[in-house]
Assembly symmetry: C2
């Protein structure tokens, strides 16, 4: 059983404000908990229901909790029987890769999670995101990343400033836009930052100024646009 104080803290982690205050987030479900444990992230505690076999503890606490407590903590309609409390990763890492994905103002948590999963599939190690992009520790981002949140390095940065610096270091800056060069195997240089804009507003004027050029997925039918995660998947498949 959890103390009132513990329960209150765990419940509060459903909100970004309290995740930032505590520097921790919750991961729900057996598969994601296992991925968290196996990752470089620091798991602080695992909470599980009676019917769930807990993982073998190493550096973290394991505690059995009631079904009621699980429902109170969970952000899901049908709470899974196991959750992990995970510390925010160290975000001060040096960018060492030639291929960088940058996302600007992605609001939909499902889209950001799916983009992380795609980046992970294609071996993109570094994802930069603008400050107003949806919180990466939002439960829906974590769920839709299918564990890729633990394998991709995401940095929340002043995107304009960061892109200016990368441009000065020889990176080509390439935006995904509705009109631009036709996407093919050699359209995007090997050393580049690919910028994906927000679902509704695209790439901001500040970042558009920094673009060397834009790239476009050729349209042949009637749809007005592609979902931003789908577009990211297509472009990465030609670039990596």
């Amino acid at each position: 059983m959890l103390s009132k104080r513990e329960l209150k803290i765990l419940r509060s982690l459903r909100q970004k404000k309290f995740r930032n205050e505590h520097g921790k987030f919750l991961v729900e479900g057996e598969k994601l908990v296992q991925e968290a444990i196996e990752s470089d992230f620091e798991v602080e505690a695992v909470y599980h229901g009676q019917s769930q076999t807990p993982p073998t503890p190493s550096s973290f606490a394991v505690q059995e909790v009631s079904q009621k407590e699980l429902s109170q903590i969970s952000s899901m309609k049908n709470p899974p029987g196991i959750m992990a409390l995970v510390k925010f990763p160290d975000k001060s890492f040096k960018i060492s890769s030639d291929k960088i994905l940058a996302v600007e103002g992605i609001n939909d948590p499902g889209n950001l999670g799916t983009i992380l999963r795609i980046a992970d599939w294609f071996g993109i190690e570094t994802v930069l995101c603008s400050e107003e992009t949806v919180d990466e520790f939002n439960p829906k981002v974590i769920q839709s990343s299918m564990g890729s949140i633990f394998r991709t390095r995401l940095a929340r940065v002043d995107l304009t400033e960061k892109i200016e610096k990368l441009k000065a270091k020889g990176y080509s800056i390439v935006g995904a836009e509705m009109s631009g060069k036709k996407l093919d195997r050699d359209t995007i240089p090997q050393k580049a930052v690919l910028v994906m804009g927000s679902e509704s507003h695209g790439i901001s004027p500040e970042i558009q100024k920094l673009l060397d050029f834009s790239v476009t997925i050729e349209k042949r039918g009637g749809a007005e646009s592609l979902n931003v995660a789908v577009a990211t998947g297509i472009i990465l498949s030609y670039w990596v």
Copy 2:
């Protein structure tokens, strides 16, 4: 104001069973209603709130309803101020295109809607889906298709039987699977059926038997899989 009977019928259309019984479905929001009106589909009626300018009627009825009625009919948390009642399209069409997309057992309405949007973007006219695939007139499918439901011809068929027939007519049958030929511009023949399996189970053994070969999106990183809609987008971008 709507009669009790009308209200009951409109509300019931949130369920597949009643959509099939009446042969009608609801479309919500200004953009989708406009797309429905401009499409080949037959719009029977448009319902709108006081603040919403109704479209100019032609062959359909236009009725002002209260906010309460809109909320009662809507399947959305924040009901938009306008909805259209649309008849099921005539589904007896002849397949005339060389490139056919077939989806088997897609359960998630967001995925099916996104797949229709992608097919529409790439000009794939015909989408075949297995009988157990989620209902295409599910409100979430319609929303996530972003109007492509009105431009893509979707046929719900006995997929094994249909694919057997198409194979006999000279179509290559190509599955998207985790191991197969590496995807590139010329991997999939011009005249072919591309089969995308379900999110959790992939392609069924019955249809696997009919495949000429499988195609795979090369993986370079850690993610176990790609979302089925993302994978569809990537493969179509190389094929069309």
